[in-house]
C-alpha cells in the first residue's frame, strides 16, 4: 500500500499582468489537485500529494502548468517541496516558466546557499539581519535558535525555522461564502442582560444552522446592540472555529457581561440585536491515525481554553511576546494567545540539547540590604525578612541599563549572584537622580 507523504506542497506563481480575478487561477489549478489555497490573484499553493502512480510530481507540475496556460496565464513558475516556505522560495529561484522540485527532506540543503532575501521575511527583520552581517540563509540556520529567540522573539524563532525549511502554516483550501447574519427586534427595548441572553440562544441556533448548511464554522462573532443613542458591538472569538451552539453561547454571554459591567445593566436600552458571524473558517480538522491511542479531541481542548479565557479574561491563556524595551519588567509581555492547530515538529534530537535555567521575575522587586566587597555584592539580606541572610560565592556584573530620559529615566546596575547554597539570584542597584541608590532583588533562576 502506498502511503501519502506527510506534506508536499506545490507553489504556483504567474505573471501579474494577466491576473484579473482572485480565484481565476485557483479554479484552473483544481485540474491538478482538489486542494488549492489562494495566496493572492497570481499565487496559489496546491496540495501536491497523491500523484505517485500518475507520474509523480513532474507530472503534477506539467498538469498545473498546462491548466494555468490554458486559462490564459503566462510565465508560470512552479516549486514543489515539503513545506510552503521552501516551495515559495523554489518559485523564486526558477527562471521564467520553470519548475523546481525539491526532494523530500532536503529543504534546508536547498535553502542554505541562497541569499537571505529569498526567505521573504518581514522587511524590518531582513534589514536587521543584513546589518548584523547575515547574507545567506545558512548564516541563520547554522546558529542556535536561542540566539534569535532572545533577541527577536517569535519573529526570530520563525525566521530560524524557515531557514531550516520548517513551516507552521496551515494549508487551507479556498472557499467563497456569505457571512451568516441574523437579527431580532426587541419590544419593549431590553434594559438588562436577561432578555438579551434569552434571545441570544435563538439567534445562535439560526446562525449555527446556516453555518452547518454551508459546512463552515464561526471564527469570530459580533453582536450589535442597537439602542436609541447608537450601536454598541460586543465581539466573541472562539478558541478554534466551531459551530457548537453551547460554546458560542458561553462566549457571547461573556462578551455581553463584559459590555454590561458588574451590575448587569445595559448602558442604553437595546431595541434590536444583530448577530453577525464576521469570520468563518472550514472545520479545523487534522488527519489522525484511526488506530492511534493517543488521539485527543481538539474541540474539547478549544472548549476548555475558551472557558478559561472567559473566566480569566484576555490575560488568561497567553503567549510570550518580546517588546523593544530594556527594562526587564517591560521587555516582554504575556499576550492573549491565538488558539489553533500547531505543527507537529519532528525534530527529536534532544539528547544533546541543553537545559538552561529559567528566569523568574518577582511581581514587585524586593528591597535588599547588600554588603559590598571589592566592588561586588558579597552578602545580602532584607530588613523585612522576605529574603534570608545569604553569603554570596560568586557575583557577575554590573550590567548597566539606563534610558527613557524623556519620560521615566532609570539607571540600574544588574548583578547575577550565586549564594552559598547554590541559588542563582538577580539583583540590581537603582540610582536616583540625586546619586543615591537602593538595592533590589528582581528575580531568580530556577
Amino acid at each position: 500500500m502506498t502511503r501519502l507523504r506527510p506534506t508536499r506542497i506545490a507553489s504556483v506563481r504567474v505573471n501579474s499582468e494577466v491576473a484579473d480575478e482572485t480565484y481565476h487561477l485557483a479554479v484552473a489549478l483544481l485540474a491538478g489537485s482538489p486542494r488549492v489555497a489562494v495566496v493572492d490573484s497570481t499565487w496559489c499553493r496546491v496540495d501536491a500529494r497523491g500523484w505517485d502512480r500518475r507520474g509523480g510530481e513532474p507530472a503534477l507540475a506539467d498538469t498545473l502548468r498546462r491548466a494555468a496556460e490554458e486559462a490564459g496565464y503566462r510565465g508560470v513558475r512552479i516549486g514543489v517541496a515539503d513545506t510552503a516556505v521552501v516551495a515559495d522560495v523554489a518559485t523564486r529561484v526558477v527562471g521564467e516558466s520553470g519548475t523546481r522540485i525539491v526532494e523530500a527532506g532536503s529543504g534546508r540543503e536547498f535553502l542554505s546557499p541562497l541569499p537571505l532575501s529569498m526567505l521573504m521575511l518581514p522587511g524590518e527583520l531582513t534589514e536587521t539581519f543584513h546589518a548584523l552581517g547575515f547574507r545567506r540563509v545558512d548564516d541563520i540556520a547554522a546558529r542556535d535558535v536561542s540566539e534569535f529567540e532572545a533577541r527577536f522573539g517569535p519573529d526570530g524563532v520563525r525566521a530560524h525555522r524557515w531557514a531550516h525549511g520548517l513551516d507552521d502554516q496551515v494549508f487551507r483550501a479556498f472557499d467563497v461564502v456569505e457571512m451568516p447574519e441574523v437579527a431580532l427586534e426587541l419590544d419593549p427595548p431590553a434594559e438588562t442582560l436577561e432578555p438579551l441572553l434569552f434571545v441570544l440562544r435563538h439567534l445562535l441556533a439560526r446562525a449555527c444552522a446556516d453555518l452547518a448548511s454551508s459546512g463552515l464554522c464561526a471564527a469570530r462573532l459580533e453582536l450589535d446592540l442597537q439602542g436609541r443613542s447608537g450601536t454598541e458591538t460586543a465581539v466573541a472569538v472562539p478558541a478554534r472555529p466551531t459551530r457548537q451552539e453551547r460554546l458560542l453561547y458561553d462566549l457571547c454571554r461573556a462578551a455581553l457581561e463584559r459590555a454590561a459591567g458588574l451590575k448587569g445593566r445595559l448602558t442604553t436600552p437595546v431595541a434590536e440585536v444583530v448577530l453577525r458571524i464576521s469570520q468563518t473558517a472550514p472545520p479545523d480538522a487534522r488527519q489522525e491515525d484511526l488506530f492511534t491511542r493517543r488521539w485527543r479531541d481538539p474541540m474539547a481542548a478549544a472548549a476548555a481554553l475558551s472557558r478559561l479565557g472567559v473566566r480569566l479574561g484576555p490575560g488568561g491563556v497567553v503567549r510570550p511576546s518580546i517588546r523593544p524595551d530594556h527594562r526587564p519588567e517591560s521587555h516582554s509581555v504575556w499576550e492573549p494567545a491565538e488558539i489553533g492547530y500547531g505543527s507537529r515538529v519532528t525534530n527529536t534530537d534532544f539528547e544533546s540539547a541543553p537545559i538552561p535555567s529559567v528566569l523568574h521575575l518577582l511581581p514587585e522587586p524586593v528591597p535588599l540590604r547588600v554588603r559590598m566587597e571589592e566592588g561586588r555584592p558579597s552578602e545580602i539580606w532584607s530588613d523585612a525578612g522576605q529574603v534570608g541572610h545569604h553569603e554570596l560565592v560568586a557575583a557577575e556584573g554590573p550590567e548597566r541599563l539606563s534610558g527613557d530620559w524623556w519620560k521615566d529615566p532609570y539607571h540600574r546596575e544588574y548583578f547575577r549572584v550565586c549564594t552559598r547554597d547554590g541559588s542563582l539570584l538577580w539583583l540590581y542597584r537603582e540610582y536616583r537622580p540625586s546619586g543615591e541608590f537602593r538595592w533590589w532583588l528582581h528575580g531568580w533562576r530556577d
Binding site: R151, R293, R296, I355, L362
Partner: protein, 234 residues
Amino acid sequence: MAHVNALETLEREVEKIGSRPAASYASVVVPTGLRILDDLLPNGGLPRGRVVEWSGPASSGKTAVLRASLERLREHGESVALIDGSGALYAPDWVRLVPGEGEFWIVRPGSASEATWCADLLLRSGAFGAVALRITEPAATPLSRGASVRLQRLAEEAAAVFVTVGHAAIAALRLGFRPGHVEPLMNTGFGPFLPPVRPVWVRVGKRGATEVPVLCPIPPHRRLPATRDRKGPL
C-alpha cells in the same frame, strides 16, 4: 461477501477502540526525553493518570527541568498546558515553546485557587496529554488533600501526565530537586565569576534516595532587544 466481512471486522475494531477506557493508552508512562531523568524514573518516564510532585527550594532547577520535559512531551505529540499559578515566569524564556500556533498553552490565573480550578478544567476536558501546575515561589500554596485526590482522578480518566510544581498532599511520585554546589571561576584581578553550567540534583522519593545530576547552563546576562530606544521617541 469478502468486502462485507472486512467491513464488519473494521466496525468491530472501531467499536473496540471507542469503548476502550482512556486510561488504557498504549503506554502508562511518557518518557521525558531526558535520558538521565528517564533512567531515574520508575518504568522510564512520567506516569499517566497520577499526581507527580516536583518539589525543591527556589532556584533548585525545577522549572528548567520541567520546561525541558514539557518541550519534549510536546514534540512527541502530546498537547501540553502549563498553569503558572505564581505569575512569575519571565516571558522570553518561553518564546521557543510557543512559535505562533502550537500545542503548548500557558495559562496565567489570578490566584492559587483559580490555578487549581484551571487544572481541574483542563484535565476534565480530556484533551491534554500533560498538564503542569506551578503553585510554588514566590508564594507557595500546597495542593490540599481533597484537590490532590480530585485532580488525580481526573488525570486518570484523561490518561494525562499531571505534574504539580510545589507540594501536593497526595502524590504517586515525588521528585526532589536541590541546587548543586557551584564552583566559582577565579580570575586574576576580577571575579569570582559564575561558571557556565551548574549541577542540579534530582531524586525520586524521600531524602536520602539516589540522586542524579542534571547540568543546567547558566545563560549570560539578558540580551538586549534589537530595537534601540536610547535615542528617545521618534
